[in-house]
């Protein structure tokens, strides 16, 4: 690693990025982050002057779809810089080094930039038995704990690192835990999604660099700039929801007309993400636009709140396809039967009381005659 640390812009220039493309990127990022016009200048200045963030990027129990998403950002400048140069730091999938050299690389980052480097994590951490995920003879938990000790902040990429995703779905055989559950004392940014939107990932990195602090987070640790609104509230099919126009099967008239996918199990109403605005693949489309209901991949426990094509989740412990409504109806019928039974028994057992016309035993007041 050179002694002089280059800025993002300098690195980009070296890679042949024009000034014009650089500015376009900054403007896009400012828009994604919801900054005012002056924010563009701040981003430009930060990317021009501040040294590139040292990054250690870990892969634990995951499928690398977050990395795959990241390198497909519509303006892949940040991804380029972070990933092209990350072989100097540490990124298991993309780094050239292996074995001892790889280990040395990330140890060098920790030694060189204490309190400055960012730990980015893809994947959950097994706690049932730490041996389920080991790299270089050490467990994921050990590696993470060591790396986090002197880091500036932790970015948890995707649902695995933010909420455990499929590994943590019931019965969670490896005891998979998200990052924020196993470490403490450091800010954790949960960049949710399976995978997160590439531009959201880039936006988080740019924010960290520009403002030198973590973005504003919601109650579940997700950056508010991207996760404060429901997919439902920004959905272009929303008008059909309010109008009560629903797709009932994937090949019906409603589906052709682009009605609301709520009855097809769309999790848009319970999912916070910016799919409806930023979209995917350079703003081409997103699941709902392609006619598929949202599966709620940026929400904790979305695997356990399935099935995907049913809005009401199954209730654990009641067998397949048992929803709260089915159980409720069953209990309702049972109650009605119980009531009917009780009413019949009452008429038999309490017959005397019901037909009783004698004054109560032990009452002291004389009876009054009715005319």
């Amino acid at each position: 690693m050179e002694n002089q640390r280059l800025s993002f812009y300098e690195e980009a220039k070296g890679n042949g990025v024009s000034r014009r493309d650089f500015l376009k990127f900054c403007a896009t990022m400012a828009a994604f982050l919801g900054l005012e016009a002056s924010g563009i200048g701040q981003i430009v200045k930060a990317l021009e002057s501040k040294p590139r963030l040292p990054v250690i990027w870990f892969h634990f129990q995951e499928c690398t779809c977050c990395s795959e998403s990241f390198i497909r950002a519509s303006h892949p400048l940040v991804a380029d810089i972070v990933l092209n140069k990350i072989s100097l730091d540490y990124q298991e999938t993309l780094m050239a080094a292996s074995g001892v050299q790889a280990e040395d690389a990330y140890k060098a980052v920790m030694a060189k930039y204490p309190g400055e480097y960012i730990v980015m994590v893809e994947g959950s951490i097994p706690t049932e038995n730490e041996a389920y995920c080991c790299i270089g003879g050490r467990s994921a938990l050990q590696i993470l704990e060591e790396a986090v000790k002197n880091c500036k902040a932790v970015v948890a990429w995707g649902n695995c690192a933010s909420a455990g995703c499929v590994q943590a779905a019931s019965p969670n055989p490896t005891g998979a835990q998200p990052v924020h559950k196993v470490i403490s004392g450091k800010p954790v940014i949960n960049v949710q999604g399976c995978p997160p939107i590439a531009d959201v990932m880039a936006g988080v990195v740019v924010h960290l660099l520009t403002f030198d602090r973590i973005p504003q987070l919601d109650g579940l640790g997700r950056p508010k700039a991207f996760y404060s609104r429901r997919v439902h509230d920004t959905c272009y099919r929303r008008a059909n929801f309010d109008a009560g126009l629903f797709v009932e099967s994937f090949d019906d008239e409603g589906a052709k007309r682009g009605y609301c996918l709520y009855k097809m199990g769309c999790k848009g109403p319970v999912t916070y993400n910016s799919c409806g605005i930023i979209k995917w693949n350079d703003g081409v489309s997103y699941p709902i636009q392609s006619g598929h209901p949202c599966i709620g991949c940026s929400e904790a426990g979305f695997w356990d709140n399935g099935p995907f094509y049913q809005h009401l989740p199954e209730v654990a412990g009641f067998g397949i396809e048992t929803t709260a409504d089915k159980i409720g109806l069953g209990l309702g019928i049972a109650t009605a039967v119980g009531i009917a039974g009780h009413a019949i028994v009452t008429n038999i057992r309490k017959h005397k009381e019901i037909t009783n016309t004698e004054p109560e035993e032990g009452s002291k007041i004389e009876t009054t005659k009715e005319s």
Binding site: A239, A243, A300, I327
Partner: protein, 239 residues
């Protein structure tokens, strides 16, 4: 003509605010359950039209939200009345902290549920078991308000719903909150069924005018029951 001469006295049990609360609550619950169920599984009765011309589902949701606010403030009012109302509406009736309350509950189970004996329960207001069940329904009310406003907070900037915004991260996300909200709806439905049956049952067996008491406030109570109630030494009616 069959008639029966029992020394009865009219007792004013349910004050006007309690009765108003009851009927607003009942109305809200019916409306909330009906609209809530529709929101959970809407009828797809329209086809071949465009969204521009319709808004029925939005209206259903609007009615649900308005009733929810009414339900909430009505509920808050009832909690307040639990500290200022008459002896039958006070909070201590509903929380079984005393031995005699548990004892009466056992008796009610024996007499009214299992029908093992024909003894009459003395209570003038709610009996202990009924009170305890109402306490549980109050907890369900509370949970329903928490989860409901929790979900509502995301689409509102109003002060009140924002107070409940923490509930979503607390329970792990909207999916979980929604599921709990949905399950609790069935609690309301089951409660309403049993509640209405038992009102009929008690009127049928005890003939104290319990059904109309929620309209006029008056119950017909046997003289000796009132006497025992007035002469009781501890908080609970006679042992």
């Amino acid at each position: 003509m069959r008639n029966r001469s029992v020394p009865l006295r009219e007792v004013h049990v349910w004050e006007m605010p309690v009765r108003v609360y009851h009927w607003i609550n009942a109305l809200c619950i019916v409306v909330l359950c009906a609209t809530g169920y529709l929101i959970g599984s809407p009828l797809a009765f329209m086809n071949g039209t465009e969204a521009y011309f319709n808004y029925w589902f939005g209206t259903v949701r609007f009615i649900h939200f308005v009733s929810a606010f009414l339900f909430f403030f009505n509920f808050v009012f009832r909690l307040y009345w639990g500290f200022t109302g008459n002896e039958f509406s006070r909070w201590y009736n509903y929380i079984p902290l005393k031995r005699c309350q548990w004892k009466e509950m056992m008796e009610v189970i024996k007499v009214d549920i299992l029908q093992l004996t024909n003894k009459k329960i003395d209570s003038i207001g709610h009996n202990s078991l009924a009170s305890f069940i109402y306490f549980i329904t109050f907890l369900i009310f509370l949970l329903q308000c928490l989860t409901g406003f929790g979900m509502y907070a995301a689409m509102s900037n109003a002060f009140l719903p924002k107070l409940f915004a923490w509930i979503v991260p607390f329970l792990g996300g909207d999916m979980q909150v929604r599921q709990i909200h949905h399950i609790l709806m069935w609690g309301f439905i089951l409660f309403a069924m049993v509640h209405m049956y038992l009102v009929f049952y008690h009127d049928y067996i005890e003939r104290r005018g319990v059904t109309s008491s929620m309209i006029g406030g008056w119950k017909f109570i046997e003289e000796d029951v009132i006497e025992r109630h007035d002469n009781r030494t501890e908080e609970c009616p006679k042992d």
